[in-house]
Each structure stands twice: as structure tokens, then as C-alpha cells.
């Protein structure tokens, strides 16, 4: 995937097993840190309705949407539980010099 790496925040700004909101231009993303310390990123809004996932609950590799408890697999964005039926778009993430970057096209 072509695109540019954008700095999101310092590593310690995202707690383990948590998610934050990251807005860039017109777009909004959810950036996750799992209990294993891995970082991931996805589109910010749930694919069911327009509610931001950054208020949701991270459980292992799963994010639960705050509105209707739909679930996605964080690494792949796969829809895991109704009312979520459409997969979430994910983005590459890297950690460099204690900062988290995501690659946006």
C-alpha cells in the first residue's frame, strides 16, 4: 500500500489494552495498543453506524464498539459480532523512536 507515514503520538500515550482517537485532516482513525503491547490502527468509525471506536473496549485482540457492542478483530479488522457485519479497514503501524506512526494512503 503506498502512502505516507504519519506520527500519531508517543508510545506511552496509549495505555496497554486501550485505544485512542487520531484525527488527520478530514479523516479519523482508531489506534490500538493490545495487552501484548502490539500497536494497530483502523478507521475510527464503526462500520455499523457512525460511532467512534475510541470510546470502545479493547479486550485482547478485539475492539467492542461503544454503541451496540459490535466487535472487530483488531489486527485484521474482521467483523466478529453483530450488529457489525462489514469489516473495518486497517492501516499499517510502526513504532520508531518511541513514537507510533500509521501509514495512510
Amino acid at each position: 500500500m503506498s502512502g505516507e507515514w504519519i506520527e500519531v503520538c508517543a508510545v506511552d500515550e496509549i495505555e496497554e489494552e486501550d485505544v485512542i482517537r487520531f484525527d488527520h485532516g478530514e479523516r479519523t482513525f482508531a489506534v490500538y495498543r493490545t495487552d501484548k503491547g502490539h500497536f494497530y490502527a483502523s478507521d475510527g468509525y464503526c462500520t455499523h453506524e457512525k460511532f467512534h471506536l475510541s470510546n470502545g473496549l479493547v479486550m485482547g485482540n478485539v475492539i467492542e464498539c461503544p454503541k451496540h457492542n459490535g466487535r472487530f478483530d483488531i489486527p485484521t479488522g474482521a467483523a466478529k459480532r453483530a450488529p457489525v457485519c462489514v469489516d473495518l479497514r486497517t492501516y499499517p503501524v510502526k513504532v520508531e523512536s518511541d513514537s507510533v506512526f500509521i501509514k495512510i494512503d
Binding site: 486501550d18 473496549l57 479486550m59 461503544p66 457492542n69 453483530a82 450488529p83 457485519c85
Partner: protein, 365 residues
């Protein structure tokens, strides 16, 4: 001056849905009490322990009450025994259906799914359609033309409420839908909120339900008695009273078409037995504002939100008194709602009463 009673169309396929969209009330952003993220994470934490314990107590109680009801069959005691059995069948059936539908009761997902399927059948709610209907209820809580779970419209239809004492309004509707689903069809209204990708599940579940109905009917014919049906299927009718009373406290008499759950939902303090039956859904403002918080953490969430909410009703009877009083007033004046003052520590209500009331009175209906 006589008040002209304006009737609105509460169906999901009528003009009110479109109007709600135009007014920005559909799938809108709702008010949320500010709670620090760390606290919310703590409150949202999932556990298996409380729900396993409560499920075991529930089924053990059903077995004991069922046995007593069986022994009492043919005597006057059976009225009392079956009332107790029916109440413990239908009321926790309703609340377990609800909590497991949200997927928050148990930490382990398959446990939520199993209890959800069992409870859905117990309260005669098609599992998949009701999952979607309830999602819509959370998106558009008490938004006319959008929310499929409004108990009764304004002015209230008392007949519906009275019939629901024995589930005689909702029950037949559900059974009619089961039959429709078994032949691969569904109501237009259901198509409004169930996506086509889920239709096959709806039809499959209905066929399973039909097999269970057939087995119960066969058992009744075989034994020459209605007794088998008194333990399965019929309790969702004769045991519905508490489900109705709890359900009436949730939203009735409060605002329609607002984006603040403090205005359209009611929190009621209840005793331990009621809270067990209802799985803490008496904290209804809290549940609607933060559906991620499992039932066992709702009392703690209530403490967090208390300073931002109107005072809770002190008990079930006080809440019902408020509801019935409001419904009676709405019979005369459908615009009547119970207005509750907020404590000085609260954020102001997110509403636009005057504008909305004005808009409503000017609406061609």
C-alpha cells in the same frame, strides 16, 4: 380551551421516520455524562463470575418452583405455584435476553450466545430480529418513527398495556412472525432494521422454534394434559406481569424525540430480588448512556453519574405511580411529559424543548 389530540404515526415505515432524519434525530450523537476514561475502562470490564452464579441460581430456582408447581397441579395452590414459576421464567428470561444480547453479561462470548438463544425462546422473541430491533432502540431511543420498541404511543393505548399483563398483545404478534419467518418471509417493518445478510439466520431460528412448539404440543396430546405447555411456552404469557411492570418504568411518560437519555429514560431503585430478576436494568439511564457497562457494574456506574442525573425514583411503585399519572395526562394532552429537575452539579439537559414543541405543534399531521 380544548386541546386537540394530535396522533403521530409510530410505525417505522410512515412519514415520522423521514421527519426524524430531517430533524437530525436519526442515528444522532447523544449526550453522555463525562466520565474519565480510566474509570470507564474499569466499569466496562467483563467478568464471567457474576453471570454464571446468577444463571445457576436462576435455573436452580426454576427447577425447585417447577417441581412445586408440578406437585400442586390440580389444586388451588397451583395458581400461586405457577405464578411464581412463570415470574421466574419470564422476568429473568427478559433480562437475560437483554444483557446477553448486548454481549456484556458474560466475558466469554459463547456463554452470552447460548443464554441469549435460550432466553429469546423463553420470552418468545426471535433471537436475530430482536437483536437488530434492540440495536435500533439504542441508536434512536424513543425517536418516533425510528424506534421499534416504543411500548405505547401517545396518547397511550391502554388496551395494549392491559393485554400485555398476559403478553396477549406482543405474544401473538411474535408467533405470527415466527410462522412468517419459517416460510422465509418477514414483515416490511422488520426489513427496516434487519440487514439482508441476516435473513437466513432469522428463518433458521424460526424453524427451530417451530420444532420446539411442535414437541410441546405433541407432549400435551400424548399426556392428555396442558401441563407440559405450562412449563414451556405458556409461562411467557401467564408470567408476564413483572416483565410488563419493569418495562413500563423504562421510558413511559418521558420525552420523545430528544438526544439525552436523562430525559427519556428512568432510573428506579429496586430491592435485591427485583434487581436479580431484572439484572439491574432499573439503572436504565445508565444502561442507555453506556451500554458497554455490564449489568453487575451498573450500581457503580450509577454512583459515578448520579450528580449529573435527575433523582432516581425511590422504588417500583413510586415509578409506576409516576408512569400511570403521566399516561393519564397524556390521554388528554399527548405532549405532557414528566420533567425532572437536575441537581446543580449536572450539565444542562441536551434538548431544545421549546423549539421541538413549537415544531410539533406546527407539524401537519
Amino acid at each position: 380551551m380544548a386541546i386537540v389530540v394530535q396522533k403521530r404515526d409510530y410505525s417505522l415505515t410512515g412519514p415520522e421516520g423521514k421527519r426524524a432524519e430531517e430533524r437530525g434525530l436519526a442515528a444522532a450523537e447523544w449526550y453522555a455524562t463525562p466520565i474519565p476514561r480510566a474509570k470507564m475502562k474499569e466499569l466496562m470490564k467483563r467478568k464471567d463470575g457474576p453471570a454464571i452464579r446468577d444463571t445457576l441460581i436462576w435455573f436452580a430456582t426454576l427447577i425447585v418452583l417447577g417441581y412445586l408447581a408440578y406437585l400442586s397441579w390440580g389444586t388451588w395452590w397451583s395458581i400461586l405455584a405457577f405464578f411464581a414459576y412463570g415470574t421466574f421464567y419470564a422476568s429473568p428470561g427478559d433480562s437475560r435476553w437483554h444483557e446477553c444480547g448486548h454481549g456484556t453479561a458474560f466475558k466469554t462470548q459463547w456463554m452470552n450466545d447460548v443464554v441469549y438463544q435460550i432466553a429469546s425462546f423463553m420470552v418468545l422473541r426471535s433471537a436475530t430480529p430482536w437483536r437488530w430491533s434492540h440495536a435500533r432502540h439504542h441508536t434512536d431511543t424513543i425517536i418516533v418513527g425510528r424506534d421499534p420498541e416504543i411500548l405505547t404511543e401517545r396518547p397511550p393505548i391502554w388496551k395494549i398495556i392491559v393485554m400485555q399483563i398476559f403478553h396477549l398483545y406482543g405474544g401473538p404478534i411474535e408467533i405470527k412472525r415466527f410462522f412468517l419467518h419459517t416460510v422465509g418471509r418477514m414483515e416490511v417493518q422488520e426489513k427496516e432494521y434487519i440487514p439482508p445478510t441476516e435473513h437466513h439466520k432469522v428463518f433458521r431460528e424460526a424453524r427451530v422454534y417451530l420444532l420446539i412448539f411442535a414437541a410441546v404440543i405433541a407432549a400435551c396430546i400424548y399426556t392428555g394434559s396442558i401441563l407440559p405447555a405450562m412449563f414451556i411456552v405458556l409461562p411467557s404469557f401467564y408470567g408476564n406481569l413483572i416483565v410488563l411492570l419493569f418495562g413500563m418504568t423504562q421510558h413511559l411518560g418521558l420525552y420523545e424525540d430528544v438526544l439525552d437519555h436523562r430525559l427519556n429514560s428512568r432510573t428506579v431503585y429496586m430491592n435485591r430480588v427485583f434487581r436479580f430478576l431484572y439484572w439491574n436494568m432499573n439503572y436504565h439511564v445508565e444502561h442507555h448512556m453506556f451500554p458497554m457497562v455490564p449489568y453487575h457494574a451498573l450500581p457503580k456506574l450509577h454512583q459515578e453519574m448520579k450528580s449529573d442525573c435527575p433523582e432516581a425514583r425511590p422504588g417500583l411503585w413510586a415509578a409506576l405511580k409516576e408512569v400511570i399519572g403521566a399516561l393519564r395526562k397524556q390521554k388528554e394532552n399527548p405532549a405532557y411529559v414528566v420533567v425532572k429537575p437536575l441537581p446543580p452539579t449536572a450539565q444542562p439537559y441536551m434538548h431544545d424543548f421549546d423549539k421541538q414543541t413549537e415544531q410539533r405543534s406546527q407539524m401537519p399531521l
